[in-house]
């Protein structure tokens, strides 16, 4: 998805994991994924560079759909759709 599309996507759940470094954001994402339904979209805010690469790997393994990452000022917004 392009940046424009991602900015307008309707997010069911947003997790702010900017206060934690690797593997904190992944752990928070794992904990939150159980609270949304299949097909719903989750956004993960992370200031950790590694997480940007890790979340797509996690999505790939679990079968979730990784939608893309938007770079903000000093952090990333990572979007994914639950399987």
């Amino acid at each position: 998805m392009s940046n424009e599309e991602l900015k307008n996507v309707s997010v069911t759940k947003s997790i702010d994991a900017r206060g934690t470094a690797c593997p904190g954001p992944l752990l928070e994402a794992k904990k939150a994924i159980g609270t949304i339904k299949a097909g719903e979209i989750m956004e993960i805010l992370s200031a950790d560079e590694g997480t940007k690469v890790d979340i797509p790997k996690w999505c790939n393994k679990q079968g979730h759909e990784y939608l893309g990452t938007v770079e903000e000022n000093g952090y990333f917004k990572i979007y994914m759709k639950k399987k």
Binding site: T20, A21, C22, P23, G24, L26, Q62
Partner: protein
């Protein structure tokens, strides 16, 4: 002619059976599981093991940690004082770090300055503390297996180990059995 074809088909069928069995063995033998034998008792190495474990558990990989030798120091609870140790066990107990907060670095330890600085940096950069990682590990269902032989060798007692939800005691064969069915095996 027909007979030759029949025997050929039978031969192929037998071969197919053998191959099927081999494939099913391969499929069954490796689980989505991580086994780590943790032998080092250095802060940096235990940290590495725990970061990998927590990340794996977050990815729904089953994690089994086998704690042996020096790493057992990390599982000691500083608040617990077991009774009935002999002289050598007491000496060992006194000389070895009592719990995660007392662990040294494998490099740049500088009589305890190094670990202090690392912990300060970790806090500043929002990295989970080692203690927090153990707590998360427990909640994620990560299994810790304590090597009974090395625990006895170093004179540690079960009563002085941390309260961990999934703590087991076993021997090397348990690690071998767990590791053989894991898709990832590490030694730290």
């Amino acid at each position: 002619m027909e007979e030759i074809q029949n025997t050929e088909i039978q031969r192929l069928q037998r071969e197919l059976e053998v191959l099927k069995k081999k494939v099913s063995n391969l499929e069954d033998s490796r689980k989505d599981q991580l086994s780590i034998a943790i032998v080092s008792g250095d802060l940096d190495k235990i940290l590495a093991a725990m970061v990998i474990s927590v990340a794996a558990a977050a990815m729904d990989t089953q994690v089994k940690l086998f704690f042996s030798f020096w790493s057992l120091s990390a599982l000691r609870d500083p608040k617990k004082c077991p009774k009935g140790k002999d002289f050598i066990s007491k000496m060992f107990g006194m000389m070895l770090p009592k719990g995660t907060k007392k662990l040294a670095l494998s490099n740049m330890n500088m009589v305890g300055m190094g670990p202090m600085m690392i912990r300060m940096l970790m806090k500043k950069q929002n990295v989970m503390s080692l203690e927090q990682m153990f707590k998360e590990a427990g909640e994620l269902g990560i299994e810790i297996v304590v090597c009974e032989m090395s625990m006895n060798l170093m004179g540690f007692k079960k009563e002085e180990l941390i309260d961990y939800p999934n703590l087991k005691f076993a021997g090397a064969a348990t690690f071998v059995a767990d590791a053989s069915e894991s898709s990832i095996q590490l030694f730290i």
